[in-house]
């Protein structure tokens, strides 16, 4: 929560970070959360600004 706000502040899109509370017995929920994040990330352009010299 704090990290997401910090990332948003420094200019990293908050949708790049996902935090969920998932129990060891909730395999399906875990798979769904990871798939959802992966799908979301694939739709985003790479953030080149954080790789190269500005």
């Amino acid at each position: 929560m704090l990290f997401q706000r910090l990332l948003d502040y420094v200019g990293v899109a908050p949708e790049r970070l996902q935090v969920r509370w998932i129990s060891g017995s909730e395999g399906q929920k875990f798979a769904a959360a990871v798939s959802e994040l992966a799908a979301r990330l694939q739709n985003l352009e790479p953030d080149e600004r954080l790789r190269d010299e500005p």
């Binding site: 910090l6 200019g11 954080l50 500005p54």
Partner: protein, 314 residues
């Protein structure tokens, strides 16, 4: 009696009576506008202690893991660091004799040096003014105008914890908006460009980490080689990653003393990131680090009304 004399008297008394093994305070620096940490172990050494507006170091950095009994000279912000370190079991309350100093702000020597553009040979305070002198010239500054940013917007200038106070408590300050309040209002793109340009100047000397009383880990994540959390390159992205990593580790622990910014040789405005974290912790958890010896740090305590958006994923 001035604050310097008062500190010397308290320190000498503690050492003479054997109440502490060492008093950690400030001594005169070798250059004008600078002071240096001073470890006084005898009554004679205590005579060299000083207090003035250049005593910027947060001496609480020397506390974690100590086994001896220490007297320590603290400003408002430093006292919060002592409280936080006691919370974190880095030092026991009984080990520390806290000599509190109400602080009127620390002078940013870089601002003064930039303004005079000449070699400063001497500096002294005269009331609300700072007088600096060189070869055949002298110049007066309004003390308030050459303080560090963190000092100008400081809201806790009086020590929150002390066993003896060297001086009268000062009225609380109201220094106007902080760096974070200013930058939060600006467009995200502009803020991002500014933060990245600040980060691009970082040389990764880790002086910020070493000056920080809360950065006492024996192995820092930046030094770890297995796993290697981040690269050694000093480009804006890696530097930003280091800084946000440090900020995250200081969540709910940073006492906003500004020691990191003062230690930074590149004069990077680190308060820009740490201030943001402190502001968010206050907003979400209603807590400021090290203000109350009775209250546990924000991220160490669970309260039923804590925000927990991550549980439901919304």
């Amino acid at each position: 009696m001035g604050t310097t004399e008062k500190i010397r008297e308290i320190a000498a008394g503690l050492l003479r009576d054997g109440k502490v093994d060492v008093v950690i305070g400030y001594g005169p620096g070798t250059l004008p506008l600078r002071s240096t940490p001073l470890f006084a172990r005898t009554v004679e050494e205590a005579e060299r202690l000083i207090w003035d507006a250049t005593c910027g170091n947060n001496l609480a950095v020397y506390l974690p893991g100590r086994k001896d009994r220490v007297g320590i000279v603290v400003k408002g912000c430093d006292s919060r660091a002592v409280v936080q370190l006691i919370h974190e079991n880095q030092i026991a309350r009984e080990q520390v004799f806290v000599i509190g100093v109400p602080c009127a702000g620390i002078i940013d020597r870089r601002q003064v040096e930039a303004a005079v553009e000449r070699e400063i040979r001497a500096a002294r305070e005269e009331g609300a003014e700072l007088v600096v002198e060189g070869d055949g010239w002298s110049r007066r500054f309004n003390r308030e105008e050459v303080l560090y940013g963190a000092c100008r917007t400081c809201r806790h200038n009086n020590p929150v914890l002390y066993d003896a106070l060297a001086g009268e408590p000062l009225p609380p300050r109201d220094g106007g908006p902080t760096l974070v309040e200013i930058w939060e209002k600006k467009p995200a793109g502009e803020r991002r460009d500014f933060i990245l340009s600040e980060m691009a100047r970082c040389i990764r000397c880790y002086a910020c980490r070493n000056a920080c009383p809360m950065c006492y880990c024996t192995e820092c994540f930046v030094d770890s080689s297995t796993p290697r959390w981040l690269g050694r390159a000093t480009d804006a992205g890696e530097n930003l990653f280091f800084q946000i990593g440090r900020v995250l580790h200081l969540a709910g622990r940073c006492v906003a003393c500004g020691a990191c910014s003062r230690a930074c040789p590149m004069d990077i405005k680190l308060g820009l990131l740490l201030g943001k974290m402190n502001k968010d912790v206050l907003e979400l958890f209603g807590h400021e680090a090290g203000l109350n010896p009775e209250e546990p740090p924000a991220l160490n305590a669970f309260r039923p009304d804590d925000p927990e958006t991550f549980l439901l994923g919304k």
